[in-house]
Symmetry: C2
Subunit: 704 residues, 2 copies
């Protein structure tokens, strides 16, 4: 899908509909911001009552404007908005921002108004940002558009930022001045009636002015498209997002194990992991990271050097680096020798290198250069502690210079001195990321390294299998309408059609047939009651394991029947399930499942069974369809993966076979959206795939 959003960001002319000459109104502030920031195009204020606003000729109506208009910004009272859209339509304006609030967010009447707005926008073939938003910014030199009514001056840089919350957007624009965060483009998307986060992420993917994409989201407009679009972006451009409202109402109550383990936040978490979007929890973290992506190279490895003039901050940096998966390696002998030649005799030339407080600008710059040249070093955190009596700006500039020259990932930390950061940023437009916290710098480099690994990791392939799709289709076609569990015999058939290793299962109508089945399967066997209304077999005493011979089988089935009679549910018995008796000790008990989310589609779950899932909830979800790499990841990323590799003398299980089963289940739910919940539990996986068996399975379908 191509999105035509260019005119929102690079308009040659803008009509400000609802511009006002009254100080303090949105219409006054927004037009004023456009002028103050130095918009490089033509502005057309529209106001029926004014001749000129902010010294610019004003028009009574949009249609009066003779020039072509690329973009309209509407700030009228809500009952006037639809008329303005009509006027824009007549004027053939294709890009419209509606700032006005009072739509979907404000009750029933607003919902209707927004619907009308959308249909008008569709009718004219327009794209719409808003309503209920704060506007758009593009700091690019030949555009210089601040089309918002927010106070403060945007700073230019490479960050693209889409915000679903106007207030957060505004808050961010307040802090950028102080923390040297440079925006390329900013959009407040408000109610997302038309243009949404997916449109913007896709648009920015191919926009060279944007080097890193950031997003604050409260909801996903379209989960599947987010996955698809983000995956296409993150391999070349980092995307960082906050997804708020984690604790909102979750998925609808689910009866399967898999469904019960999917929390309200599972979709978002899975979505981010699978698309390579870096999730953060705070605005500070988002922009610290974005600033580094924008201004520094990606680290080529995990080895971090730390330069400091004070021990304390360096120690905290090393602690944080270790926590974030980085190493703080020994420097090479050559580097140490070179350092010794320039530093004070008491200084430490080991990593972290401590120049001690008296270090001068020259020594600092030279030391930074030497350290970053070390072949054992992939990235650097260069810390300047609070100064005592030197010119901090000069020292910082020397360090920045060394960082720039190095060609490596480096962050310069000026501790607790935001005014120095602002000053250096002003004097030195091409500077490395400047931080005021050394721990944050270490965390950021850790995240950058993880992103680098993600970039290098192949997406993998969606594998195809020789499955009997027609067979499953035939079964589902015969099912009645509604949402319910399939009969166990159908479940077995479906699993067999997809070559998922359900244990050999025979369903016998009576004791004679049970004996026949048991002999066919071979003793010892397990016998379980079979019946549409006997879903919870154990609860009615309907499960018997390790039956050694015919006599025991006859006795067992008689006892079970007597038990059902006692409970008065004998009539629900439709027969017996006869299966080989398998000892779980031969393998590891796992659980494999799927649950359908209305918006995200099927989520596949894998984890170790029994106590691991019950107590530790140690499971991993992925959105189907899964690639081969996804399936592998799913297995290796659970905490108890070590158990699959073999502990306490057990052999490692056949992970390849397990991955294949996950992919087959992924294919099954992708082929048949009818499945709403599937539990393969327990799935006993052994070192030998032939011994790996699904011992029980449940499938819920929704047939419309």
């Amino acid at each position: 899908m191509t999105v035509e959003l260019g005119k929102f960001f690079y308009p040659k002319s803008i009509a400000v509909i609802g511009a006002s000459s009254k100080q303090g109104t949105l219409g006054y502030e927004l037009l004023g911001n456009l002028i103050k920031f130095g918009y490089n195009g033509k502005l057309f204020p529209v106001n029926p009552k004014a001749d000129a606003i902010h010294s610019i000729k004003s028009y009574k109506s949009i249609t009066e404007i003779k020039d072509e208009v690329d973009l309209a910004v509407i700030m009228l009272a809500k009952h006037l908005v639809l008329q303005a859209i009509d006027d824009c339509g007549k004027k053939k304006i294709k890009s419209v921002i509606v700032i006005t609030a009072g739509f979907k967010e404000s009750g029933e009447e607003g919902v209707k108004l927004e619907k009308d707005l959308i249909s008008k926008v569709k009718k004219y073939g327009m794209r719409l940002v808003g309503p209920n938003c704060m506007g758009i910014i593009n700091t690019k030199g030949d555009v210089m558009m601040n089309g918002t009514f927010i106070k403060g001056t945007p700073v230019a840089g490479g960050i693209g930022f889409v915000s679903q919350s106007g207030a957060l957007g505004a808050a961010v624009l307040k802090i950028i001045e102080k923390y040297d965060i440079g925006f390329s483009q900013f959009v407040s998307i408000g109610n997302k009636a038309d243009v949404d986060e997916n449109d913007l992420i896709e648009y920015w993917r191919d926009n060279p002015d944007v080097s890193v994409i950031t997003a604050y989201l409260e909801s996903f407009s379209d989960v599947r498209r987010f996955l698809e679009v983000s995956k296409s972006v993150t391999k070349s451009k980092p995307v960082i997002a906050i997804k708020a409202a984690k604790t909102s109402a979750g998925m609808k109550a689910a009866s399967s194990h898999t469904g019960a383990l999917a929390s309200a936040d599972t979709v978002a978490q899975t979505l981010f992991e699978q698309s390579g979007v870096i999730r953060v929890d705070s605005v500070e973290d988002m922009f610290n990271l974005a600033k580094a992506f924008d201004r520094a190279k990606l680290p080529s490895g995990r080895r971090l050097a730390v330069l400091t003039n004070a021990g304390g901050p360096a120690i905290l940096t090393v602690d944080e680096a270790a926590r974030c998966g980085l190493e703080v390696p020994d420097l090479s002998e050559k580097t140490k020798k070179r350092l010794r030649e320039i530093v004070l005799p008491e200084a430490s030339v080991n990593n972290p290198v401590d120049l001690l407080p008296p270090a001068t600008a020259e020594v600092y710059g030279k030391a930074a250069e030497i350290i970053l040249q070390d072949e054992n070093v992939d990235a650097g955190v260069l810390i300047l502690g609070p100064p005592l009596m030197f010119d901090t700006v000069e020292i910082t500039k020397q360090i920045c210079d060394a960082a720039n020259k190095s060609g490596k990932c480096a962050i310069v930390v000026v501790m607790s001195q935001d005014e120095i950061i602002a000053e250096v940023a002003k004097q030195m437009p091409q500077h490395p990321p400047l931080f005021n916290s050394a721990e944050k710098a270490a965390w950021v480099i850790g995240e950058m390294y993880k992103y680098k690994l993600w970039r290098e990791k192949p997406h993998g392939k969606i594998k195809t299998f020789n499955t009997n799709t027609k067979g499953v289709k035939a079964i589902l076609n015969k099912q009645k309408k509604g949402e319910y569990y399939l009969d166990f015999d159908k479940v077995c058939e479906i699993l067999n059609h997809y070559k998922l290793p359900i244990i050999e299962t025979r369903i016998s109508k009576n004791v004679q047939q049970s004996i026949y089945d048991a002999n066919k399967i071979g003793f010892p066997v397990a016998a379980k009651v079979f019946g549409r209304e006997l879903v919870h077999k154990s609860d009615v005493g309907g499960v018997a394991l390790n039956i050694q011979d015919e006599e025991e089988l006859i006795n067992t089935e008689s006892r079970i029947i007597a038990g059902l009679k006692e409970k008065g549910i004998e009539s629900k018995l439709e027969g017996f399930i006869i299966q080989p008796f398998t000892k779980i000790e031969d393998g590891v008990e796992t659980i494999l499942g799927a649950v359908k989310d209305e918006k995200a589609g099927h989520l596949l779950m894998f984890g170790l069974g029994g106590i691991f899932v019950e107590v530790f909830k140690d499971v991993k979800f992925k959105i189907a369809p899964l690639s081969d790499i996804d399936a592998r990841d799913k297995i290796t990323s659970i905490r108890s993966y070590e158990i699959l590799k073999g502990v306490r003398g057990k052999k490692a299980v056949d992970v390849e076979f397990l991955a294949e089963c996950i992919l087959k289940l992924s294919k099954l739910v992708t082929d048949f959206p009818e499945f709403t919940e599937i539990d393969l539990n327990p799935f006993v996986i052994s070192h030998n795939w032939k011994k790996s068996k699904i011992l029980d399975a449940r499938m819920k379908v929704l047939i419309r």
Copy 2:
């Protein structure tokens, strides 16, 4: 122990030895800071070459001063320091700060110099802060002492701060101006040659000028004293600490399970947990929390109300509150009704209450008041989003006023507008904590609530048991010198002396005796090789379980002996251990152990055995001796505690008995410091204490 530190913080006169009239020197800056900050006492600069410094009469030598001197600050070159101490001694000065560096931190010669310094200080009965430090601050109105050479002006408040890193201390003093963090007393302790963190924490415990204690530590001077002192403080005053250098070299390599699980950071982590000290990882977190403790009431419960004029920040706050264990409850109908009377019709009166951007100062203040009066609400985060066109200072003041009046825990968040925070703080000296991030405010209230729970929790009692201490003493007295494992028969005797339920164990010298023992115990039995050099019994095929009768026992022992012969280690066999055969399935396999840290003493460990300890490392450490409450906590705080409560149809284990065993082990290692490592593994604990048995045990001792 009483510490006499009063003269460091409340001196009536100070000698500045090494004061200088040369701008840019430490001696110039420190004296200048004392004067500029308005020290309420007499200053005596000492400098052999100057007549007056900073317009104050200067003395050639300390001894020349006629007045009494309470405190001396020494900033001389290091070779002059000892002479200065002698002079101070003559002058009977009892409190000395040595700023000068070049002692222990700078190599061998410095170590010697520091030793000499300490012995002189001891000789004169002085107390010493430093050397290699940045000085002391006390902002108290009748003292007004800034005895540091750090730039910037301290702000008064209730926080006490001890920093082992001078640079971090200086960095913090830079940020306080901006973030409204008020210090009462600050000490840079440098090399901690005499006065250390424990002295200060103890001193501040009883100092009414300090409401909350903060510490940045790189090492503990005395772990046991830290535990004791902190425990005595945290029940009345919060202590917040950063312990850096987590990744430094750990404990010496240990061969026991327990030892291997104790990481480099285990001592620090255990120490903080057990003493109620709140551990944080960053300076920002430390002072955000300290500021809230200093300026807000403790929340009486976990129910948080959020007030906002913008949705986004409120959602992030609710997410963070949930993560931190807080609830965001429904407001009472009465509160909602009262709110509806004052807010805009479109505003939301549910929690979070959203007043929308047009909310005025009056409405904001009134709404804050109403919300905090709700009986469903224990604490509030009151957020003011970035303003569009109102007087933010006025709104903030109204909110602060409501928070002050409420008598409840409340934090006021002015998003991204530090200048407003500074202005409000200036205009309104008695203000609630002012934050610039709403998520941080939620986190802080979560921590305050946890602290409140800690405060209310009893320490518990050290229980005594009727143990046979003499019996153990007799065994240990007979042991040879060195560090080694005790023989298994001795281990069993010791456990029996302390009524720790080691499985019934008989050690037989030959097959005949084994048969006798097995019959005494009753079949089925387990047989294991016994021998000083056969520590790893399984590795030599020396363990046989579930032996049914005499014949099987004879065959088994013969087979084991044959196996040892084959390996050529037959001579190491000293006999057989005969025990009842117990099925682990009857209970839960746990591990109970102890390991001795040189500084901290014995750490006791508890966790679930087998896979849980191997894969999840799900264990808990505590420093001995443990109180009954400690033992309970130890059990309930492991992640797999649910398993002990009974899962999958199993009964809950006898937790009381388990706690008793932990306490007995605690008593054993407290009674006998000779033990360096103890593993009781597996300790199978059942629902019936009589069936709960230690199946194997190892004890290492160090006999000097």
